[in-house]
């Protein structure tokens, strides 16, 4: 039981980070970043290249993953999303643009990094073993703690820094923020960059545990959407809640229900649909409509 | 005169908050009744309850003696109770004339298959609708704008367009949600005379919610005053202006003077 909980916490922390990035972008620009999974994969590959091919320390790899994705995110917002949002008559265009970007990133990843599954050597050896009740490799613990650290850092940043406060104002009410003198364009770009960075960081974190490959992009995006929808779109606490819930569900599912395979997932998804139909704002989202 | 609308002990709760508390009043045919009260008094909620956009927690609303509070919003609209909105809601990318014509079309009785196959009956309706739309537009003073795109209208005229859309359905009771909001004196006076014409020329019954006291005093046949969700007074404009409870309610809040 304790093992399931610990696994769930570890997975949850990773998922929460992904969900946070997505929800940040959504709350600022009302865009569901279809390319989020690809950004995660890209981050993983950057870390892999830096560590396995250039032989640099892991933390450098992780950092570069974050930086690369931040740049990609910022550029994407500035040169792709901003003009499309300005010119199009309908709000769905951004969703479609994001889908196009997802394909594009997939293509780039394919060309630059290839199709193979890649991984990096364990960053810490050894296994934590508490009487065989909880068994957890040290590297997972480290990664889990790093993830939690980043989450905490992110929350503190959003609460206390000037940039964070500006972005929160922007998320609440775009027009009011503009009237208060917030440079909406600039903060949208920063927000997107940060969201992408978070995705990239998770990629860098997980490449050391589960490895990374091209095909993970799409399913990760879908998982991210699910988390954000369960927890509540556009709400930080919702993203974290969604992330940990999905982490727990997967942990439970892996150990308890693995015999039942597809029917389990079917039931989970179907229940999800019903849940969303009844409570579209998720657990913590603002009531809408 | 027989009341056409009866609001009977209507209440609405949101969790622990009672927005509308046991409110009762009647609206007689052909009169203009205004509902006023300080901010937060429950006026908008009351409106939504009458037009069935919200369900009553208790009590009921009757139209011509029949219960409408258990019907869905579009059914209530079909019974003849049409509501206009506070935010100017219109069909944005069409002209003024098209807006009003569309309102006729989407209310037309012909069934779906008729629509689809364009039967002769459907075709003859089109001519009627255009005529009706033009006369409504004329009544509302919008004739000079009839071929302009709706979003290019100035604020005051947008409100008139919203009303025109409602009028296309030949309502029996018109619910006007703050029709004078955001208007200057000249626009207000114009709207006051327009609303008066709706009562006099179209024989409409009008229930309105408003903050603008001078306008309310000028236009209303009777007034109902709400405060904290409860009805605290009902009567003619003169009686309301002198009612001590009403004066007290307004002095206790930041609202405008009673326009005496």
């Amino acid at each position: 039981m304790e093992q399931i909980i610990v696994n769930g916490l570890y997975l949850g922390a990773q998922y929460a980070l992904i969900a946070l990035g997505l929800t940040l972008i959504f709350s600022l620009m009302n865009v569901l970043n279809f390319a989020h999974g690809q950004m995660y994969v890209l981050g993983g590959f950057v870390t892999y290249s830096v560590v396995a091919q250039f032989g640099m320390p892991y933390l450098v790899g992780l950092l570069l993953a974050g930086v690369t994705l931040a740049v990609v995110g910022g550029l994407t917002e500035r040169w792709l999303f901003r003009p499309v949002i300005a010119k199009s008559h309908r709000e769905e265009s951004t969703m479609l643009l994001a889908a196009g970007i997802a394909f594009f990133l997939d293509a780039i990843i394919l060309l630059v990094f290839g199709e193979k599954q890649r991984g990096i050597p364990k960053i810490v050896d050894g296994v934590f073993n508490w009487d065989f009740i909880v068994v957890m490799p040290y590297d997972r613990i480290v990664i889990g703690l790093l993830a939690i650290g980043i989450i905490v850092g992110f929350i503190l940043f959003m609460q206390h820094s000037k940039t964070g406060r500006a972005m929160r104002a922007l998320a609440q009410d775009r027009v009011a923020a503009k009237l208060m003198g917030v440079n909406v364009d600039q903060y949208s770009m920063i927000g997107f960059a940060m969201g992408a960075m978070l995705a990239g960081l998770v990629g860098g974190l997980l490449v050391s545990i589960t490895g990374i490959n091209l095909g993970m992009g799409g399913p990760t995006s879908i998982k991210a959407f699910l988390m954000v929808m369960i927890g509540g779109a556009g709400v930080i606490s919702g993203a974290i809640a969604g992330g940990f819930i999905l982490g727990m569900l997967e942990s439970v599912g892996l150990s308890v229900l693995s015999d039942y395979g597809d029917i389990t997932y079917l039931v989970i998804f179907a229940s999800l649909m019903i849940f969303l139909a009844l409570r579209p704002q998720g657990l913590m989202g603002k009531p809408w409509g | 005169m027989n009341p056409i609308l009866e609001v009977k002990n209507v209440s609405r709760r949101f969790g622990g908050l009672i927005a509308v508390d046991d409110v009762s009043f009647n609206v007689s045919a052909g009169e203009i009744l205004s509902v006023i009260g300080p901010n937060g008094a429950g006026k908008s909620t009351l409106f939504k309850l009458i037009s069935s956009f919200l369900k009553c927690s208790s009590g009921e609303v009757q139209l011509f003696g029949q219960r409408i509070s258990n019907l869905s919003p579009h059914e209530v609209a079909r019974k003849g109770v049409v509501r206009t909105f506070q935010e100017t809601t219109i069909f944005k990318s069409m002209t003024v004339l098209e807006n009003v014509i569309v309102a006729h079309q989407i209310r037309a009785k012909a069934n779906l298959l008729d629509f689809f196959l364009r039967t002769p009956r459907a075709k003859s309706d089109e001519g009627r609708f255009k005529e009706s739309a033009l006369s409504i537009i004329d009544l509302m003073g919008l004739t000079e704008f009839k071929d302009e795109i709706a979003t290019s209208l100035p604020q005051g005229y947008l409100r008139a367009l919203g009303m025109s859309i409602g009028l296309a359905t030949s309502p029996k009771l018109l619910l006007l949600d703050e029709p004078f909001a955001g208007m200057n004196h000249e626009e207000t006076m114009r709207m006051v005379s327009t609303v008066g014409r709706l009562r006099d020329e179209l024989r409409l019954t009008i229930l309105l919610v408003e903050h603008d006291m001078p306008a309310v005093m000028k236009i209303s046949d009777r007034i109902v005053v709400l405060n904290f969700g409860q009805k605290i007074a009902e009567g003619s404009p003169e009686a309301i202006q002198e009612n001590p409870r009403v004066i007290e309610a307004y002095l206790g809040s930041e609202d405008t003077a009673l326009g005496i």
Binding site: G100, F269, W288 | I106, I165
Partner: protein, 323 residues
């Protein structure tokens, strides 16, 4: 309809039913039949998605209905020996019924919320195909025979495909006819009062409701027509590919249907048809670029969205371009 529009229609019909078959016979590129038949079927599915956009909803679930339609057709042909051509409308009706069931609770959701639920729907469809009985799990249903003759009261309405020389041509003609029919339906809806109703919903649901429009009913009707088209498309694919798998229609396909609508232009009835043609052909043509296929494809896609964010057909609309 104006004379100009009749002319366009004539040109279109001649191109589809005259020029294409002749061209293919002359050049011997009979593989193009499969390509174009696929385009026809995909554009039927995209037409359905377009219709959901028309009532103001983002539908990322058409893949689910295509999958259901395909399986209905496959099961009816292989296990109940129903004539394939009859399974097409049946598949459509099953999907329509299903969509009413699903639509009633979810159609009141808006924007991304509705979109997300439909996204989950596509996944649910795939998982159902994997897990439920009669669908043969991951192996799918294969070796589905070519359609037999359609006989009614001893009158042969359609010959069996085993017996004719050019089955591909027959599929092409029939599914192109279906495509024309589907778009005719869309055209009639848009130009009828139902169209006005739908447009009023798109613009302002509350306003429509406040003047007596039964919004919920209209939405369900539109959604069921949309899903009917999805089911028909799925059944069609079973005919030309003679197989169906749980992976035949996935989230990527649902997204592609949306892209087709989008690229052609959401404001235009023929948008999805044009979008499907360009995107599908474009993808096919880019095959020669090998590894760079996805890169160039997606780059062009993004470029198109930057240049014509309101779809390609909006280029023809000078009124909108100048505003």
């Amino acid at each position: 309809m104006s004379a100009k529009k009749w002319l366009w229609l004539a040109v279109f019909l001649i191109a589809v039913f005259g020029v294409v078959p002749v061209f293919i016979e002359i050049t011997g590129r009979s593989d193009l039949y499969y390509t174009l038949t696929s385009v026809a079927l995909l554009s039927i599915a995209s037409a359905g998605v377009w219709l959901t956009f028309y009532i103001g909803r983002i539908n990322i679930g058409q893949g689910a209905f295509a999958l259901v339609g395909g399986y209905v057709s496959a099961i009816l042909v292989t296990q109940v020996t129903v004539n394939f051509w009859l399974t097409i409308p049946i598949a459509g009706l099953v999907c329509a019924a299903l969509s009413v069931l699903i639509g009633l609770p979810i159609l009141r959701l808006r924007g991304v919320y509705f979109a997300m639920v439909t996204l989950v729907l596509t996944e649910v469809a795939k998982l159902s195909a994997l897990a439920l009985p009669y669908t043969n799990g991951a192996k799918g249903i294969t070796s589905i025979p070519l359609p037999g003759p359609l006989v009614l009261f001893d009158l042969v309405l359609l010959p069996g495909l085993e017996s004719i020389a050019n089955p591909k041509l027959m599929f092409y003609i029939i599914f192109s006819v279906l495509m024309v029919l589907a778009y005719w339906v869309l055209w009639r809806i848009v130009n009828s009062r139902l169209g006005h109703l739908c447009r009023s919903l798109q613009q302002n649901e509350e306003l429509a409701s406040s003047i007596g429009v039964n919004v919920a009913y209209i939405r369900v009707v539109a959604f069921s027509i949309s899903s009917f088209l999805g089911g028909v498309a799925g059944a069609g694919f079973v005919g030309i590919s003679q197989s169906i798998y749980p992976s035949s229609f996935q989230v990527a396909d649902s997204i592609n249907f949306m892209l087709n609508c989008f690229l052609g232009g959401l404001g235009y009835v023929f948008g999805p048809m044009l979008g499907t043609l360009v995107l599908y052909f474009g993808w096919d043509l880019l095959f020669v670029t090998g590894r760079y296929q996805l890169l160039i494809y997606s780059a062009i896609l993004i470029l198109l969205m930057l240049l014509v964010p309101n779809g390609m057909l909006s280029l023809f609309d000078r009124k909108k371009a100048s505003s």
